[in-house]
């Protein structure tokens, strides 16, 4: 055996396949069902991770032509099957394997504690889901890619509707399925246009041919790709499936979908927009992505703030982060089309690093939310609270994830945003006023989004985990999450911290793929400076040795610790919370989730279209002492995108469908008539198109 590639691929694929079978036929006792399947899937993820790391070390592209009976093995045929993994695919395979491994580990405990039926089939479908994700990033041909892509969609649909006893879950699943098919159609359109235009059915064969295509042709391909991959990634206004599907799915599934699957949209767009179409990029592509990304970032985070459902909040936050990633992709495309490949590399690096980071901390947050909501039995934050005492580890891990996603040092979220800020700041070297002003505005949007994200996550953590339990169910929680769940989350948080303190561990392996994508010599991010500082293109911008910053932070914390721990005359004691001299404070006096969001909802009232309804306490009987006992305050939030964009669209499709269905009379002579008519029309067309020839 000359290379381990084939061995690792075979091991990973067969382990995932075996996991699927084992899960579906598992007839063990119910609480233990699915464990064998999860174990096999872990083996598959491990093999996939090793393979991805090996590919990144080795560099270059590894391909394998599959000659199955009935398929032509050559690259020129539409049905060619070819496994091909390049640097870009390796990056995303690594993300899938790392996040997948941690989520599978956590699933061992999650399945036992929080899933109550059909554990075996859930575990088996997880294995199949990971297999389809692996195939998406290793497909070398249009045919194999579309099979893997649609497989990923279908399997994730079955995962979303796992708890299909509830009407809401079925509705969310259907919604997701429909949106995914629209996305699939757009992806297929884009790839078919590419294949027809370049005459090649392999991705590797397309890239050299694109320079012959006209601007209209490449523009159409790019638009279709943005529509298709943007829907999968959750780009506004195509994100509407995301806040429906994520809360409906079991939490380990949400973790995988948000952490890995939506990144497949990013992968697809980088594949089509950079790897294949990169040399032909027009300026407007970059600005389109930048505007869409900035809109997503703001719409996502503003909606996240308003949510009361913890998992819906996390889903909207995914929309925000995908927005940030697309902003970085847009910046990279602008630089690329302006002929500044080094800066394009910086922005693309920010996009890939942030994709990776978001995969880590969002799956961590979904697992933490799953532990909390599973223990209490509701996703409504107003009914959680006080979980930090019975669940200290889960709370701490969720807090770490909240710090990371709020882009605070020393976590990985900060590094990704820092890189993007540097890329935006470098706009002054372009000399184009439009670019400079747009990028500056984008920096303002990015800063606002990260400030708002911190707001949303102080709310999410504080309301769900701190203070008094808000309900009896929350007060009844006695135990922390199972050990495997805590282990999986700790692994993810550890990686968030590691990549925050030593980002070159990931930036190094990323710099070669990025250099290949933008066609510029790689910035050396592998070694960093003597203290691990990140270099910058030219002498512009700022430098960052985040390891030193982390050391300073540790030093500062040490000083504070010494100040606080110096021997004291009086020992610490505890007492009740101050309540202005009333009875002991209760959970009803705490700030609620909606109360916490109120200042922001009031400031952005135009965005939320929030309509407050107040009912004053009725009559004197409603009052007791100084507190009014009766009285309601309700806030109604409209969700305009669904009502004003998608409902009219779907009604239009329905109306069109019912018109067309009138053609279907059912009588056989009518259909014969259609055939004759079609034949005549075709003959006439042929005559016109064929010109003089018979």
């Amino acid at each position: 055996m000359t290379s381990p590639d084939l061995l690792l691929l075979a091991l990973s694929v067969s382990a995932f396949a075996a996991s699927t079978l084992a899960g579906l036929v598992d007839r063990g006792e119910e609480p233990r069902r699915g464990r064998v399947s999860l174990g096999l899937a872990l083996l598959g993820a491990g093999a996939g991770g090793v393979w991805a790391a090996w590919r990144l070390v080795e560099g270059g592209t590894w391909t394998l032509d599959l000659a199955l009976p009935g398929f032509t093995p050559s690259g020129g045929a539409p049905t060619a099957l070819q496994v091909s993994i390049g640097p870009l695919g390796s990056v995303f395979l690594l993300l899938e394997s790392v996040v997948g491994g941690a989520v599978l580990l956590a699933s061992l405990g999650y399945l036992r504690e929080h899933v109550h039926e059909r554990r075996g089939s859930l575990a088996g479908m997880l294995g199949l889901f990971l297999l389809s994700l692996e195939l998406v990033v290793t497909s070398g041909t249009v045919f194999l890619f579309m099979v893997a892509w649609e497989g990923m969609t279908l399997v994730s649909y079955f995962l979303v509707v796992h708890e299909h006893g509830s009407w809401e879950v079925r509705r969310a699943g259907l919604f997701y399925l429909v949106m995914s098919h629209v996305a699939g159609a757009a992806v297929l359109t884009s790839l078919l246009l590419l294949a027809v235009g370049t005459g090649s059915w392999t991705f590797a064969g397309m890239a050299p041919e694109v320079s012959h295509l006209g601007g209209w042709w490449t523009g159409a391909i790019f638009l279709a790709a943005t529509l298709g991959f943007g829907t999968k990634a959750g780009l506004v206004p195509l994100h509407v499936w995301l806040p429906e599907a994520h809360p409906a799915a079991p939490s380990n599934v949400s973790a995988l979908m948000s952490g890995v699957m939506i990144k497949m949209g990013v992968y697809g767009l980088v594949l089509v927009g950079f790897e294949i179409l990169g040399p032909t990029a027009s300026l407007w592509w970059g600005f389109l992505l930048l505007v869409l990304g900035a809109t997503s970032a703001l719409v996502g985070v503003l909606n996240a703030i308003a949510q009361q459902d913890l998992k819906r909040l996390l889903a909207f936050s995914s929309v925000e982060n995908v927005g940030i990633i697309f902003m970085a992709l847009g910046v990279a495309l602008v630089f690329l089309s302006l002929g500044l490949p080094a800066l394009a590399g910086l922005a693309l690096l920010a996009a890939l690093f942030h994709s990776f980071s978001h995969g880590l901390f969002k799956s961590l947050l979904f697992l933490g939310a799953g532990a909390a909501t599973g223990a209490v039995g509701t996703r409504d934050m107003e009914r959680l609270g006080g979980l930090a005492r019975p669940m200290p580890s889960t709370s701490l891990l969720f807090l770490g994830g909240a710090l990371a996603i709020s882009a605070l040092p020393p976590f990985n979220g900060f590094v990704g945003e820092w890189l993007l800020f540097q890329a935006l700041f470098a706009s002054f070297t372009t000399g184009s006023l439009a670019t400079e002003l747009t990028f500056t505005a984008a920096a303002g949007v990015l800063a606002l989004a990260s400030g708002l994200a911190a707001y949303a996550f102080v709310k999410a953590f504080g309301v769900s985990f701190l203070a008094h339990p808000r309900t009896l169910e929350a007060a009844a929680v006695k135990a922390d999450a199972p050990g495997t769940m805590r282990g999986g989350m700790a692994l993810l948080l550890g990686l968030c911290l590691l990549l925050g303190v030593a980002p070159f561990l990931l930036l190094g392996p990323l710099s070669a793929p990025v250099a290949g994508l933008v066609g510029a010599p790689a910035l050396d991010y592998g070694s960093g400076g003597p203290l691990g500082e990140l270099p910058r293109p030219g002498s512009q911008g700022g430098s960052l040795a985040i390891g030193v910053v982390a050391l300073l932070l540790a030093g500062g914390i040490l000083v504070a610790w010494v100040l606080r721990r110096a021997p004291s005359v009086v020992a610490a004691r505890s007492g009740p919370t101050w309540d202005c001299g009333m009875d002991a404070p209760t959970a009803r006096m705490e700030y609620t989730a909606s109360g916490y969001a109120q200042p922001m909802m009031r400031l952005f009232a135009g965005f939320y279209r929030a309509r407050p309804h107040t009912e004053p306490a009725s009559g004197a009987s409603g009052r007791s002492g100084v507190l009014s006992r009766i009285g309601r305050y309700e806030m109604e939030v409209e969700y305009p995108l669904l009502g004003e964009l998608f409902l009219p669209l779907s009604r239009g499709v329905e109306r069109l469908g019912s018109r067309i269905s009138r053609l279907q009379s059912g009588g056989i002579h009518t259909y014969l008539g259609y055939m004759v008519l079609t034949l005549v029309v075709l003959l006439i067309l042929l005559r016109i198109a064929g010109g003089g020839s018979p």
């Binding site: 400079e436 303002g444 910053v549 300073l552 540790a554 504070a560 101050w578 309540d579 700030y591």
Partner: protein, 321 residues
Amino acid sequence: MSGWGEAQTAALLLSEVLLALGLGPLLIGLVRRVKSRSQRRTGPGLLQPYRDLAKQLGKGTVYSETSSGLTRYSTWIGFGALLAAVPFVPWFFLPSPIGFSGDLIVLVGLLALSRFMTAVTALDAGSTFGGMGSTRDMWLGALFEPTFLLVIFAWGAPSGSTQASAIVLHGASLGLTHLSPALLLASAAFAVLLLAETGRLPVDNPATHLELTMVHEAMVLELGGRDLALIDWGKSVRFLLLLELFVAVLLPWGDALSLGLASLALALGLLVAKLFGASLLLGNLETRVAKWRLFRVGDLAVLSWVLALGSISLTYLVGVG
């Protein structure tokens, strides 16, 4: 780097941290003094903040029965983040000893970390006031984060760097032409941000005793003893950091570039003079304005965005050198 160079770096770093810790409470005392004098009150002495800190540090702590372990640790982390931010502000010696390791964006991140920890702690005890302060403080933080980033871009564009040292050195090399309209606009935006970020009037009243109007004070209502000492001290360090950044960029002259005794003394003297001047102005401003309604502060934030964007547009229209 030679051993001497490392010892020099460590000594400079230590002196900056000690300066920040030592000078912060004095400036708070000075602002209070100016306020009380211009209101025809005697007021507390200049050193009162130090006495308060000493008293709080000597006291025992009372924790709420509702609170979790978080409250026992979060104040250290918040205070530590502020200390870690010290080297990223220009003090008296340039270039900053380990300034290469981070820029002003790191400063924004560390200040935000400290804010996040305080806001989370405020929710831990389950008090209504804590929630009120927490949501308001995060609200202000989110609104002024764009201002901070835009000001960094505006200040940084002429020198092409987001590093504080580089910005100040470039400004000093320009002579009086440094005080361009673009710089003044950006600095005006930063002045608004300074009032909001450090909880001064008209955004928050640091001397208030009415819980319903509080922002910062409401957040820390449940803390006492050493935890409160760390929070108060941290607040004065945050105030000093932002004020020093403001005066250093606006008036970038006089920093020591070598380790001569005379130049160091001159630089330290100028630093204290600039800070005192700014504190006098701030104290005067605070006697002249009343606290604004919280939701009017949104207008203030938007004003600061516009000022900063205007500054950047001017820079780019004129062209970067």
